[in-house]
Symmetry: C2
Amino acid sequence: MTEAHPIEEQIRAAFDEVSQRRTRPRRLIEQRLVEFAENETNFTVDDLWQDIRKDDPHLGRATVYRSIEKLVNKGLLNRVDFADGTHHYRVCGHSHHHHLTCNQCHRVVEVDICLPKEQLAKIGNQTDFTIEGHSLSLFGRCSECRTE
Amino acid sequence: MTEAHPIEEQIRAAFDEVSQRRTRPRRLIEQRLVEFAENETNFTVDDLWQDIRKDDPHLGRATVYRSIEKLVNKGLLNRVDFADGTHHYRVCGHSHHHHLTCNQCHRVVEVDICLPKEQLAKIGNQTDFTIEGHSLSLFGRCSECRTE
DNA sequence: TTTAGTGCAAAGGCTTTGCACACCG
DNA sequence: CGGTGTGCAAAGCCTTTGCACTAAA
């Protein structure tokens, strides 16, 4: 667990880049995001809001939406769409990786699996597309949910 | 363009399995789906509804939602979530493949790229998950949009 | 005739927006 | 102080649901 730039700094830096004032709401959001990042937890907008409201019951839902939107654009947060139509987010500033989600408990782990570069290149040629990106999610069942 | 079971039959068969009556709305939906399938077009619920309303202005939106839901469960339709939060569908009864979508014109082509089996197995072991499925989408820019 | 399937409109979630106010710098 | 960022509530989407009615078998 050694990092040149701990996640805390990354989050703070991202916030600094998308805003000019260090307000109370943003500090609170920052706090939670650090926690979520450390636990590699995924969360919904509402999760985050409910969580923050324990500290500040007057903080508005819209504020949370507004912050999340900015951080997603900045690339710090990753949006994951579940099959049931709900949207989840996770802190994902760092290196390229993908997610494996448990179909039952929705636990997420990061995995370092990806498409072979040569295959991507081949597809690019075949289709005459410039490949700019991809999204990959694995689904399965974790050991705990399997034994239940 | 030769197929033992043309897409038309596949669609009809899927409908037959999820319902008991061959109603006018379903026939209309069927028709459009065949077109969409042939053109490999992706569509939203609303696209489909608007399209059908040209033939039958009284057909209800809810009916379209209800049919799509059944066909998705049946596996005939594939749901694709775009980054902007919109949901698209495409007819996809057949073999395993993934999609490459143009970021600009949203044209979709099917590609036969996938994760290496050995890698999937390795991930399963490392994480102690039973891998049950995956979703993979490629994004890029098609030749036409690139040259504009 | 029976009842699956439909159409309509209302209700439900989630998300965005408008606007006056608060508070950071 | 000045203007960014906030809170609130209203409005907007997309989607689902309840219910009386239509029409397929």
